[in-house]
C-alpha cells in the first residue's frame, strides 16, 4: 500500500498526539482509515472557495466539500457576513432569535410541501426525530428502510452487528432493496397495519457501492402504497438536498413526501439541520419533544438564510449540474484513454466514480492516493460533491490530474477486462 509520510508529516505528528487522548484519534466519518491511511491529509489548516490546505501546506481542490455542507464555497463572504452580523447581536441564549422565524418562513415558502419546519444541528437529529413523529402519528412501530442506506449513526440507523447495537434497537426495522417497488409492497403486505413509516433517500447512495437512480414509477408507487396503507413517507434529503432542486429533491423525481429532512448544504457549513412536513403531520410533530442544547442557536440560521437566498439568486443548482457534467465527461474520457472502464453514478452534483472490474476498491484507493498527491481530493469510497465555487478551470485541472492517476492505476492493475 502507498505511504507518503513525508508529504503528510505534520498530519501524522498531530495524529500521534491525538491517538493518545481521543479514541481512534480521529473518529466518525472523518477518519483517515476510510480514505488512505498515511497517504492522505489528516488535518486542515485553512479553507477558501473550493480549496483547502492541510497542516503540511498542501493544497487541494475539494470534491468532498466537508462531506456535503460546503455548497457555495468555503468562507463565502456574504454567508460569513450574515453570520457575523447575527453574532454581534446574539447566538445562543435562553431563547431563539427573530432569525428563526425569518428562516422558517423562508423555508416554508421555498419548499412547496413544507407547511412547518423544525431545526436541529445534524442530519441524524432530523432522521431520529422523523421516526418518532411517524410512530406517534400512526401508533405503529415498524419502519421500512433500504439495505445499505445511511441515515446517521444512531443504533437503529447503524444496523445489526455494529458495536453497541443490540437486537432491540433494530427489531422493528424492515429492510428492502432500494428501488424495488415489488419488494417494498411485499414488505408492506407482510407487516400490514404495523408499518409506521418508511425512510428513504431520493436516489440510493449506499456505502461502498454505486449510486442508483430511481426506476420509472418507483416513487409514484411508493407514494401510492403509503397513502393506501397509512404509512408516513419520510424523505432523507440530507445528502442531496439543495443540490438537485431548491424546492426539494423529490420535486426532481415527481413525488411528495410527508416529511423531508435536510442538513449538509442548508447553511454552507454552519451547523444546522431542518425537517419540513405537511399539514397532516403538524400536530404529531408538535407532540413529540425532541431537542438539543445548540439546536436553536441563531448564527447558523442567519448563515442558512443567506445561503438559501444565494442558491436561488445565483442559480447554483444549474451551475453545479453543469460543472458536475463536465467532470463526469472528463473522467470517463480520461479513463477510456487508459483502457480503464469506470462507472460514474448518481446525479452530476453528487457523482461517485468506481472502477468496473475487481469490485474491491483497490484501484479506487490507488486512484485517490495519486489524485490527492497531485492536489485533487477525490474520496475512494464515498460520493463526491460539486459546489458553486468549482469553476471550469478547477474542473479542467482535476481532469488532468485524474489522467495521471488513471495512468498509475493502469500500470498497477492493468487495463479493465
Amino acid at each position: 500500500m502507498t505511504k507518503d509520510t513525508d508529504r503528510y508529516k505534520n498530519s501524522i505528528k498531530l495524529f500521534k498526539r491525538a491517538a493518545k487522548v481521543i479514541p481512534q484519534g480521529i473518529y466518525g466519518h472523518l477518519t483517515p482509515v476510510i480514505v488512505a491511511p498515511l497517504a492522505s491529509p489528516y488535518y486542515v489548516e485553512k479553507t477558501k472557495g473550493c480549496k483547502y490546505w492541510d497542516v503540511d501546506g498542501n493544497e487541494y481542490i475539494d470534491y468532498m466539500c466537508s462531506y456535503g455542507p460546503m455548497v457555495l464555497g468555503y468562507n463565502h463572504p456574504e454567508v460569513d457576513k450574515a453570520a457575523e452580523e447575527q453574532k454581534k447581536k446574539a447566538d445562543i441564549c435562553n431563547h431563539p432569535g427573530e432569525i428563526m422565524v425569518e428562516l422558517a418562513e423562508h423555508i416554508n415558502k421555498l419548499i412547496p410541501i413544507a407547511d412547518w419546519v423544525v431545526f436541529g444541528k445534524n442530519g441524524a437529529d432530523m432522521t431520529n426525530h422523523s421516526l418518532m413523529i411517524a410512530r406517534h402519528h400512526t401508533k405503529r412501530k415498524k419502519i421500512i428502510m433500504a439495505k445499505g442506506a445511511y441515515h446517521g449513526t444512531a443504533p437503529w440507523a447503524s444496523g445489526p452487528g455494529h458495536a453497541g447495537v443490540i437486537d432491540e434497537d433494530v427489531q422493528n426495522l424492515v429492510f428492502v432493496t432500494w428501488g424495488d417497488l415489488n419488494e417494498f409492497n411485499e414488505a408492506v403486505e407482510k407487516y400490514k397495519g404495523e408499518i409506521a413509516g418508511t425512510i428513504l433517500t431520493p436516489y440510493h447512495h449506499p456505502t461502498w457501492a454505486n449510486q442508483v437512480m430511481p426506476p420509472k414509477g418507483y416513487w409514484q408507487g411508493v407514494r401510492k402504497t403509503c397513502d393506501e396503507e397509512g404509512i408516513i413517507l419520510i424523505l432523507d434529503d440530507i445528502r442531496a438536498g439543495f443540490r438537485l432542486n431548491l424546492q426539494g429533491s423529490h420535486e426532481l423525481f415527481g413525488f411528495k413526501p410527508d416529511i423531508s429532512c435536510y442538513c449538509k448544504a442548508i447553511a454552507n457549513g454552519y451547523a444546522l439541520s431542518a425537517m419540513v412536513g405537511t399539514e397532516k403531520m403538524r400536530i404529531s410533530a408538535s407532540s413529540v419533544f425532541y431537542t438539543g442544547s445548540y439546536w436553536l442557536s441563531a448564527v447558523p440560521m442567519a448563515a442558512s438564510l443567506a445561503t438559501l437566498k444565494i442558491l436561488k439568486r445565483d442559480n447554483v443548482v444549474e451551475k453545479i449540474k453543469k460543472m458536475g457534467e463536465l467532470l463526469k465527461a472528463g473522467l470517463e474520457e480520461m479513463a477510456q484513454a487508459h483502457d480503464l472502464e469506470v462507472e460514474v453514478t448518481g446525479p452530476p452534483a453528487t457523482q461517485f466514480m468506481t472502477f468496473k472490474d475487481r469490485g474491491d476498491f483497490r484501484n479506487s484507493q490507488l486512484f485517490s492516493v495519486e489524485a490527492i498527491k497531485r492536489g485533487v481530493f477525490f474520496h475512494p469510497h464515498h460520493n463526491w460533491f460539486v459546489s458553486a465555487a468549482h469553476e471550469r478551470a478547477d474542473i479542467e485541472k482535476s481532469i488532468n490530474v485524474a489522467d495521471e492517476a488513471f495512468k498509475e492505476v493502469r500500470r498497477v492493475f492493468g487495463p479493465s477486462e
Binding site: 500500500m1 505511504k3 509520510t5 501524522i12 495524529f15 500521534k16 491517538a19 479514541p23 481512534q24 484519534g25 480521529i26 473518529y27 477518519t31 483517515p32 482509515v33 476510510i34 491511511p37 498515511l38 489528516y42 445489526p160 452487528g161 455494529h162 456505502t207 461502498w208 457501492a209 475487481r358 469490485g359 474491491d360 476498491f361 483497490r362 484507493q365 469510497h381
Partner: protein
C-alpha cells in the same frame, strides 16, 4: 441447534489446525511428537471431519477423511463437541477404531493441554507472545469462516460479505510471518493457511506485538490503521463484516 454445530466446526476447522503451530514452536510439544507416526480421524454428524496426522516430527491437520486413519474418534453429536470445548460433560469421544492406538490420543491430549496453557496465559513475553499471537490469528480468522458458514444468527452479516479473498497476516520482517486467507464465494466461506495469489482485502499487522494487542482487545484498531501499525487496503465492506464474524468466533471460543 446452530450454536453446537458452529462449535463443532470451530473445533475441527479452527482449533485443531492450531496443533500444527504448537508442534512447531513449543519445545515440550516437539519432544512429544518426535518420531511419532499416525493419524487421528475426528468425525461429527453432517459430514464434519478432520485428520490430525503425526508425521515428520510434527503435526499436519487436514479437513476431511483423506488418508487412512490409525484411530477414529467419533463425536455422536455436535453437542458433545461443544461440551468438550467448554470442558463440560464427557471429554474425548470414544474411539470406534484403533483401540490399540490409544497412545496417540494420549499424546494428542498432552498437546491439547499445552495449547490450553498458551491460550490462558496472561502477559506473555517474547516467543510465547509471538506464538500466542499466531494462534489467535488463526483461531480468529479460521473461526470467522466457520461462523460465516454455519451460524444462523449471523446469516445477515454473512450475506453482506462480498465474494472475494481476505488476506490477513502478521508481518515478521523479510521472512514473513503467519498468514491466512478467507475465500468467500456465494454462501461458502473457507479459510486457508498461507498466502493467496491475489486478494480483495488485506489486513497486515506490523508485528507480533500489534497482533497480540489486537486479538486480546488491547488495541485501538482504527488508530492503529491510521498510524500504519495495521495495514489495511481493499474492500472495507469485506473487512467490516469479517471483523464482526471474528468477534463472534471469539465469543464462542472464550
Amino acid at each position: 441447534m446452530s450454536e453446537n454445530l458452529v462449535k463443532a466446526r470451530l473445533f475441527l476447522y479452527a482449533i485443531l489446525p492450531l496443533f500444527e503451530e504448537i508442534a512447531k514452536k513449543d519445545k515440550d510439544a516437539k519432544k512429544i511428537v518426535k518420531g511419532l507416526k499416525g493419524i487421528i480421524q475426528f468425525s461429527a454428524p453432517d459430514d464434519l471431519a478432520a485428520q490430525v496426522e503425526f508425521v515428520d516430527d510434527g503435526i499436519v491437520v487436514t479437513p476431511g477423511k483423506e488418508k487412512k486413519s490409525s484411530i477414529s474418534l467419533v463425536f455422536i453429536s455436535h453437542k458433545v463437541v461443544s461440551n468438550m470445548l467448554a470442558k463440560k460433560g464427557f471429554g474425548m469421544p470414544l474411539p470406534v477404531k484403533g483401540l490399540l492406538k490409544l497412545g496417540l490420543t494420549n499424546k494428542f491430549e498432552k498437546i491439547a493441554d499445552i495449547l490450553d496453557r498458551y491460550m490462558n496465559e496472561k502477559n506473555p513475553k517474547g516467543e510465547a507472545r509471538d506464538l500466542i499471537a499466531t494462534l489467535l490469528l488463526y483461531a480468529a480468522v479460521m473461526g470467522a469462516a466457520q461462523v460465516g458458514q454455519a451460524d444462523e444468527s449471523m446469516a445477515d452479516i454473512a450475506k453482506k460479505v462480498p465474494d472475494g479473498i481476505a488476506h490477513v497476516e502478521i508481518k515478521d520482517g523479510a521472512k514473513g510471518g503467519p498468514s491466512v486467507y478467507v475465500v468467500k464465494k456465494g454462501k461458502d466461506f473457507k479459510a486457508v493457511k498461507g498466502r493467496p495469489d491475489d486478494y480483495n482485502v488485506y489486513l497486515g499487522f506490523k508485528n507480533f506485538e500489534i497482533a497480540y494487542a489486537m486479538f486480546t482487545n488491547q488495541l485501538d484498531m482504527m488508530a492503529a490503521v491510521a498510524l500504519g501499525d495495521i495495514e489495511l487496503s481493499g474492500s472495507l465492506a469485506f473487512v467490516e463484516q469479517l471483523a464482526i464474524l471474528m468477534e463472534k468466533a471469539g465469543e464462542y471460543l472464550e
